[in-house]
Structures are given as structure tokens and as C-alpha cells.
Amino acid sequence: MSDIILTTNNLTKKYNHTLALDNINLNIERGRMYGFIGQNGAGKTTLIRLIVGLSFPTSGELYLFGKTGKQALQEQRKRIGCMVETPALYPNMTAVQNLEVQRIQRGIPDRHVIRETLELVGLDDYLTGRKAVRNFSLGMRQRLGIAIALLHDPELLILDEPINGLDPMGIAEMRILLKRLNAERGTTILISSHILNELYQTVSQYILINQGVLIEELTQSQLNEKCKRHIALQTNHVENALLALENRLHIKDYQVMPDGTIKLYDHLDDMEGISSTLMKEGVLITGMTMAGDTLESYFLHRIGGEKHALSH
């Protein structure tokens, strides 16, 4: 059995003259947790809509569990659980009734799945209650939306902004739940979220999308590598500074950025030694700070929006 459960080949979506998705090529591997990152209008939800069948691609191909074509994709979607944007619930029904509709719709014979799923998402208090969903808080609705997505024990779980409206405790519980589903059931999870710090703690792979273009796919370790702590050094003479660092301090692990900033990944606890060595070599230090990217700052760097973000 293939380890790739979702593939897109040059998937493109146009709305009139607006290009929402531009030749997206993506592979989602079984058993991993993916974080889908992008600004509002970047194309995240559009891609999710194409995957779950709410929208049709303008061109390109979509493979689900190795299958493509209208009928086959429709069949394979039974293996997916999803929550797109807001939880879609019947407001006049109770939590149990909402799940019962989904159970009947999906042809799940075992009624116990409702209890198990409500317990899983922490809504077991509402197993016997008569409270209609319209009276639920946003967080509770969110949990119920996730419960609906989980009801049939999907192989691929797609959640669009799942932690919107959850309190800090709820967010932590959701993180634990998703990690548990991934570890115990092997569920592949694709989450889109704006809360990047939370995403950093949850997923193992990142997909960065901007203006309909997939700009990068990277693993947690690759991200850590790119975001690792360093000394950002600015000098009046980059070449001389590098010579001094290599010859005097034997620093090999560094990177020179296009703006001339030297990122030192070595001697992080010896800023004094570095500055005195450079002074002795006649290099003037114009800036020296300890730095390290977060997922957020890395993302902003990648989409070139840092200035925009800082100006707000």
C-alpha cells in the first residue's frame, strides 16, 4: 500500500479572473501531521474545498488514496473526516442528535460511536442533555464539529482552523487529542491554522502557501534548523570579520545573509570573546544580537511580509 494518501498535480483553481490556486503540487504521507500555513486568502481553504469535493478544480489532478476521477474520488472521500471553516451543525438539535444524523448518513451501524466520540472530544457531559446546539458556546461547537469529523474514524482528518474559539485549556486538550489520534490510530492530520505557535507544538510537517502558490514544504527538524538560535552580527567589513572568526575563533558554523548579516550558530555563549576578537582585528561591530526565528517570523520572512507585519 502506498504511503502517499493525497497527491495534487498542478492543481489550479480560478474564480473568474482570480487565480486562487496556482499549480499546486503536494504529497501528503500517511501517518503524519501537517500544518497548513498561509495568510487569509492564500488559498488554504480553497485547496481543502477541492480535496473534500465542495469545489471543482479548473485544471490539474487530485489523487486520494491513489485514486483519481470523479467516482473514485467520491468513494475515497468516505475515508476522510473534515471540518471546513465553521462547524456545520443543526442548531435545533442536541449534540447527540447531530452525531446521530451523521451516523445514519455514513451508514455506521454501531450507535456506541456517538458516546465514544463525544468522550473523545470532551463533550461527554452532553450525552444525555437536551441542550440544543444553538445554545452551545463557540468552543463547544468547535468540539462538536471535530467530533463529527472523527465519528467514522477517518484515515485522513482535515481541520480548517480547529482551535478557533477554544479557551487555552481547550486548545491544549485539542493538541493532546490530535497527537493521540495520530499516534494511536495512525490518523493522518492536515490542520490549517493562524495560531502558528500552537501549530508548532502540534504538527510535524509544514506546508507554506502564499497567494495560491505553494512556497515551501518542510519538516519540523528542517524548520528547527532554519530557525535555530544564532548570533546575528553586523559589521563594517564582512570579509574581514569572517576571516577573523574562522582563523581566531575557529568558527565554521555560520551563514552570511544577503544583507551582510552574519549568523553565527557557534560560540553562542561567548559574545564578549567574539566582539573583542573582531575589535582586535580592526572590524567595527555595528550590531550584535542573540536571535532565533519562530515559526511565525520564519513564515513572515518566507512570504516577505515581515515589514508589513511590523508596521501594524
Binding site: 474545498r49 473534500v52 469535493g53 465542495l54 469545489s55 471543482f56 467520491q74 468513494e75 475515497q76 472521500r77 468516505k78 475515508r79 476522510i80 473534515c82 471546513v84 471553516e85 465553521t86 456545520a88 451543525l89 443543526y90 442548531p91 435545533n92 438539535m93 442528535q97 446521530e100 444524523v101 451523521q102 445514519i104 448518513q105 455514513r106 451508514g107 463529527i148 467514522h152
Partner: protein, 235 residues
């Protein structure tokens, strides 16, 4: 498909608004029958069916709440995400909507006939000998009702909301009433389901023409709504 129909039945049974509309149709229909005086069971068949088109407005509300709200709450999208074909989704929704609408429109006549027959007797040859004719009349009325409800279907699958799904069929209903009260009412009535309903009560032997008009209207509305839904982007 069977799962979808079962789920739709579950939703309908748990839909309070449907039962409110059902109760409202019985009460309103009952009021409209008050000025008819004492009617036998047989007479009340025609008297109650004559009033049924007035209750048609309730099915516009039902369409908005049953289909339009499913779009507005995005609950319909779950079914598609669950891997069901759009044709099956459309069919199951249509079947239950037409059935529910006919319940709203025909329950009051049935209750009225039963009540009047119980109190004042059947008042015609015999219930047994009239049964075939009454079933034919009710089935034809059901098809014509369904044809009128077709506009709600079309509006719901085009507009995907509650407001327009309520207002467009209501507007269409009033336009039809206006036309049926105009100078060329008799000619127009032959080509409109609501007109055929009235003609049917005047001459119950004209079921063939009524069925034809009903099926053509229903077929056109269903094909149009189904095709639109099949190619719709769902937001």
C-alpha cells in the same frame, strides 16, 4: 442513497418547524372550512382540496427552512464531504421535501374528510366505490403540489439561503394567483399546476391533463435544480 433518505427522515422527524407548519396548516385549513357549513365526507373531499392551494404558502416556508437552512448552516456540505454523490444528495432532499410538503398540504383535507364522514356520514354511493376515485384525486393533487414545490427546490439550489428560498416561491405563488384571477384565467389555468388543481376539483375526470402539467413542471424544476447543484461551488 438509502442512508441519505434515512438521515433526512431523522432530520424531518426532529424538525420542530415542520410540525409547527403541519399544525398551522391543520388550523388554517380548519378555519377555511368553517364557512362551508355541514358537509358530508364526500362533499368535504372537494371542499378541503379547494382550499389546499391557499396553504401552499406554508410549503414555501417549509422549503426555506428545510433546504435553504441546510445551505445556510452548511450542513448539506457534510453529506458531500462524506463521499455521497451530489445526485443522491439532491434526490434524497427532493423526495423528503416533496413528501413533507404534501403532508403539510394534504393532512388537513384527510382529517377533515375523516371528521365530516364520522359526524355527517359519507353522503354518496359508498366509501368503497368512491375510494378509487378519491385516491386518484389525491395522487394527482400530490403531483400538482409537488410541481408547485418545484420552484422552492429551484430557488433553494440556486440561492443557497433561507431568505431568497422563501421569497422567490412566495412571489411566484402570488403571481400565479394574480394570473388565475385575471381575464384569461381559464386558459392560463390549464398550463399552471395551481390552475390545474382548481380545474381538477371542478372536473375530477381531468386527471390526465393535470398529471401531465404536474409532471412536466416538476420534471423541469427538478432537472434544472439538479443540474445547477451538480455544478455548484459550495462556499
Amino acid at each position: 442513497m438509502l442512508c441519505l433518505i434515512k438521515a433526512e427522515i431523522y432530520k424531518l422527524v426532529h424538525d420542530r418547524s415542520f410540525f409547527i407548519l403541519l399544525a398551522l396548516s391543520i388550523v388554517l385549513g380548519g378555519f377555511l372550512m368553517l364557512d362551508q357549513g355541514e358537509l358530508t365526507g364526500y362533499e368535504s373531499v372537494f371542499a378541503s382540496l379547494y382550499n389546499a392551494p391557499i396553504l401552499m404558502l406554508l410549503t414555501c416556508v417549509f422549503g426555506a427552512l428545510y433546504i435553504g437552512k441546510d445551505f445556510a448552516d452548511h450542513t448539506l456540505y457534510h453529506i458531500i464531504c462524506a463521499g455521497h454523490s451530489r445526485n443522491h444528495v439532491f434526490l434524497s432532499k427532493t423526495i423528503l421535501f416533496v413528501a413533507g410538503s404534501n403532508m403539510i398540504l394534504l393532512l388537513q383535507p384527510i382529517l377533515s374528510i375523516a371528521l365530516n364522514a364520522g359526524i355527517y356520514g359519507w353522503g354518496h354511493q359508498s366509501f368503497g366505490s368512491d375510494l378509487k376515485e378519491i385516491i386518484k384525486l389525491f395522487l394527482t393533487t400530490a403531483v400538482l403540489n409537488a410541481a408547485m414545490c418545484g420552484i422552492s427546490l429551484l430557488a433553494a439550489f440556486i440561492c443557497k439561503d433561507v431568505g431568497k428560498t422563501l421569497s422567490i416561491p412566495a412571489l411566484f405563488y402570488f403571481l400565479t394567483i394574480f394570473l388565475l384571477n385575471g381575464p384569461n384565467a381559464k386558459e392560463i389555468a390549464r398550463f399552471i399546476p395551481l390552475g390545474q388543481l382548481r380545474l381538477l376539483i371542478g372536473d375530477s375526470s381531468s386527471t390526465g391533463a393535470a398529471l401531465l402539467v404536474g409532471i412536466i413542471f416538476l420534471g423541469c424544476f427538478c432537472v434544472a435544480a439538479g443540474r445547477i447543484f451538480n455544478h455548484s461551488e459550495l462556499y
